[in-house]
Symmetry: C2
Subunit: 244 residues, 2 copies
């Protein structure tokens, strides 16, 4: 084995958070330190070489590369990764019609890596097929763009629905234990992690009532995401673009 | 109290890593979760509001704002912070001649926050006054630019000395426990943390012999840091620039 015993860093979970400076996207690498089975959440096409190098250097066996949702601001690397690494499955929500992925998951499904798993929770609202991945012991959750640190993803395209997002966050994320660490899909201010208690206290949008939240989201007047016309169709096919 | 019991997240240490996208600088916030006494390592002027907001939201009492070294690529916020927050001391190495800071530290000093402390280790080579801060239990170290992930800081200005850097890294950092987490001053590829074992295995520069390392560092041919003429004199005075 090229690597030291990963279990000595933390006997229960090997974990790394990675950042794409261009799109401010976070990618997450989780592994069972004993079996070295791993999952990768929201990998970015431009960071493919970095991510493959880490998997190699840590001696991990990638089982699943999964997207929290069909992204509008960057292209996923899961399709291109399949041309460079064998033995893993791409994962996307079964909700998106016409989407291609090896495994299409729905609310309540579990995704296993070694002796650990993440639970799939449907948290629609930013897009219709947004998922939150909750670690088996409820110590961590990966919220994609459903919940961002002190904010949330926009709700004005891709079947976005502010009232639905509000219900998703309160029902599926804020109901987790107060000290569950929440890892977002993006952060634009260099913050990396939050917790349920922090967001229930300081998320100025989501601690409002539902009607006020819907109103705030209706009046954001954000510009159209620069890459949406390329990124969304590509991400429906794991980031592999049509040549047609 | 505005905040939940921070000890429930981790009873021994409250920890956040923050990133400045512009200069790719990492800032670190550490606190004793019981007393809420905190230290801030390498805060960036442009991120001052964000950092003050976090200290406030977490209900922390800042004791020390410290710089691993006199930075050439960004301006520290420790001086400006003193105009906005009371009761903390700025910290810098005693090595820099003419530098101003409330506390000038040297190798072997300890900086206390609540029941915890960091130990100051002199790790010169990138600059003459570079420090590494090692957490009391040797589970974490903050290496500034002495050691970067799979790399190290340049050694061609500010009393830089490649042979000295090599001795600093091997003597003071690579001698820490294999699973000690190393937190760098920067990363340009979106990575956040490494460990002693990883760098002893995969740091292609530093695992070479000393002569080869010195030769590599001599031939990097890097451009002069864009902000060095402004940043270095300012950082000698905690980031407060002269008006003269
Ligand atoms: Fe998104
Ligand atoms: Fe530096």
């Amino acid at each position: 084995a090229r690597c030291q015993n990963l279990a000595r860093e933390d006997p229960n979970l090997f974990f790394r958070q990675l950042f794409d400076r261009e799109s401010c996207t976070y990618t997450y690498l989780l592994a069972d330190p004993k079996t070295r089975d791993a999952v990768l959440i929201d990998p970015v096409l431009e960071c493919l070489d970095r991510d493959l190098e880490m998997i190699d250097e840590y001696g991990l066996v990638l089982k699943y590369a999964m997207n929290t949702h069909c992204h509008a601001d960057h292209i996923t690397s899961t399709g291109m990764m399949k041309t460079k690494l064998d033995g893993f499955c791409s994962v996307l929500s079964a909700t998106y019609e016409g989407a291609k992925a090896d495994v299409k998951v729905k609310h309540g499904d579990c995704i296993y890596f070694g002796d650990r798993f993440v639970e799939v929770r449907a948290t629609p609202g930013h897009t219709g097929g947004c998922l939150t991945f909750v670690l088996d012991d409820h110590s961590m959750a990966f919220t994609g763009d459903a919940l961002l640190i002190r904010g949330c993803g926009r709700t004005d395209f891709q079947s976005g629905d502010a009232a639905l997002l509000y219900k998703s966050v309160w029902g599926q994320i804020f109901s987790l234990p107060a000290h569950c660490r929440l890892y977002p899909g993006h952060d634009y201010k260099g913050r990396q992690v939050t917790t349920v208690w922090e967001e229930r206290l300081h998320n100025t949008r989501l601690i409002k009532g539902e009607d006020e939240f819907v109103n705030i989201m209706k009046n954001l007047n954000l510009p159209k995401p620069a890459r949406i016309d390329v990124a969304v169709p590509a991400n429906m096919k794991c980031g592999v673009q049509d040549d047609e």
